[in-house]
Amino acid sequence: MRFRNVAVVLTLVWITLFVAVPYLLVVLFSFLTPNPAGTVTYTFTLESYRQIFSPVFLTVCKSSFTLALGTSALTLLVAYPFAFFLARIPENIRRTLILLMIIPFWTSSLIRTYALIILLKANGIINSFLLSAGWIDEPLGILYTQTAVFIGLVYTLLPFMILPLYASIQKLDMRLIEASRDLGARGWHIFFHIVLPLTMPGIIAGSTMVFLPALGLFYIPDLLGGARSMLMGNFIKDQFLTTGNWPLGSAASVLLTILMFLMLGWYFAVSRRANQGDMKELA
């Protein structure tokens, strides 16, 4: 009992010190005046929020959302068949595969992104192989394109999609598929009428878990896309590290957080309706 109290207090202190306090500082800074010399001057203003709703920032928002949406969709397409496969194979092989999927996470994703550059660049591994095999005559220009950004984001976020999908597909009652076959369904009918609706909680959970980080991951578009398009993550980073406009960066962070909360709220509402509380364990 005493151990539990100590543990709870420690956790609370930790969260307060390193999560709540910094975040409240961000909220506070968003209402203050920028100080070009560094940090802020303590004068209240709504100027940062006014700046946020400017066309420039809305364009940034739009391209961020498009990228995150595209990433979610691509990740879903890649992850769904694999999660299905994962749910249907013998336990020991499955454990190995899940382990293999998680091992890369022991390395910083920044380093893995640099590894992707080595793979994708003009004289990189993929191009060298294709050239020496004689399949292409000149190097493919993948790096510093939208394609490279998608490859990087999908690669990095794939496990966040696979795991919820896998959990949801594994719970799928195979007898329901038998019942649908018994009633005359086949192939795609089974998929669209039975499998897809019943795994929707996993799809929503996975998409949320990919969409939200994809909005904020600034270094992958930076490194792989060559910083051509400004995204929310980059925008915020630049306000703090380049432009030195901390209040504007803070205001953008606050806005992003609010958007994420709205989406999480939507996700909980939808998943509750989809599965009558069945989703609680996944959430």
């Binding site: 007898r175 329901l176 038998e178 019942a179 018994d182 086949r186 609706p197 019943l198 009558q276």
Partner: protein
């Protein structure tokens, strides 16, 4: 009158790894009958059902439907439907959509589907619940939805996999009667799987008793109960007392059997030779109990002592220790004219049975 054959299993064999689930089974199923596959769990009865439905493929033999082999015909192309043990209702669909599913898959238009679903709902007495979801229904209602979802497709054969096992006793009895009604009303062939012999006896036209993937006996409930062909059927269906005996004499149609040194005349169904060991089987309700002083030396009897008296309301069950050492179960119906005949623990009694009520194996 011989009815039309609808499904025929010939040498049907199914193995799971090294286990033979169904072992070269021959079974004929006739148009419109209520056939029950009865047996202990693991006897292969559900596998037979799944073979007919098309969820499992044969390792040997063949299954014919309307004279044509079902080999290679997927479940969605077979004119059979299944009521699953767990009902397997689609949780994300309303009752209406569950029942309409089969018709939708077959591409009927909306008006027809609506009429058929409503008709099926009223047949299973669920009119008005079409917009509910499965989890909002009681077990009995879910069972009815599962029935409606199957029968709305008007299959030639309806396969029922222990559909009543999840219901409580009272509801189960109600549903037994309703299933029989439904069977009569629809005229569809029912193939019903159960491990519950009471269920099998009260509902079926014919019962196929299965054990370890083989057919032990097939016949009407009366035949199965009154004339079991082997010890497995005798012991699995109802309670039975077994006496070891030896044939002393054989006459035309009857034989004399020695049981514990007493000579009983029994009906002879199979040929048997003098000196052969036999088992004489008697249902608890076929045995007569008398007070010791009523013994008539002219007729054979077995003496014993009342061990236990179990009052069951309609009947009284007696557990009797025979002097020869065996324990015998006897069920007595109350006889209004003989209310003074009350047995208690320790009473000395004798038992016998009417000629011909025994089964000799």
């Amino acid at each position: 009158m011989e009815r039309d054959l609808i499904v025929r299993l010939r040498g049907a064999t199914k193995r799971f790894d090294d286990v033979v689930a169904v072992d070269s089974l021959d079974l004929d199923i006739y148009q419109g009958e209520f056939l029950t596959l009865l047996g202990p769990s693991g006897c292969g009865k559900t596998t037979v059902l799944r073979l007919i439905a098309g969820f499992e493929s044969l390792d040997g033999g063949e299954i014919l439907m309307n004279g044509a082999s079902l080999d290679g015909t997927p479940p969605n192309k077979r004119n059979v439907n299944t009521v699953f043990q767990s009902y397997a209702l689609f949780p994300h669909m309303t009752v209406f959509d569950n029942i309409a599913f089969g018709l939708k898959m077959k591409g009927f238009d909306k008006g027809v589907i609506r009429d058929e679903v409503m008709e099926a709902l009223s047949v299973v007495k669920l009119a008005g619940l079409e917009l509910r979801r499965p989890h909002q229904l009681s077990g009995g209602q879910q069972q009815r939805v599962a029935m409606a979802r199957a029968i709305v497709n008007k299959p030639q054969v309806l396969l029922l996999d222990e559909p009543l096992s999840a219901l409580d006793y009272r509801l189960r009895q109600e549903m037994e009667i309703e299933l029989k009604h439904l069977h009569r009303k629809l005229g569809i062939t029912f193939v019903f799987v159960t491990h519950d012999q009471e269920e099998a006896i009260s509902m079926s036209d014919r019962i196929a008793v299965m054990n370890e993937g083989r057919l032990e006996q097939i016949g009407t409930p009366t035949e199965i109960y009154e004339e079991p062909e082997n010890m497995f059927v005798a012991k699995f269906v109802g309670e039975i007392n077994v006496f070891e005996g030896r044939i002393l004499d054989v006459h035309n149609g009857s034989a004399v059997v020695d049981i514990h040194g007493r000579q009983f005349k029994v009906q002879k169904r199979k040929s048997c030779g003098i000196g052969q060991s036999v088992k004489v089987l008697l249902r608890p309700e076929d045995i007569m109990v008398y007070k010791e002083e009523e013994a008539d030396p002219a007729y054979p009897f077995l003496p014993g002592t009342i061990e236990d008296v179990i009052y069951k309301g309609k009947t009284v069950d007696l557990i009797i220790n025979l002097d020869a050492g065996e324990t015998v179960h006897v069920t007595q119906f109350f006889n209004e004219d003989q209310e003074d005949v009350v047995y208690r623990h320790g009473h000395k009694i004798i038992i016998d049975w009417p000629y011909g009520w025994e089964v000799v194996l």
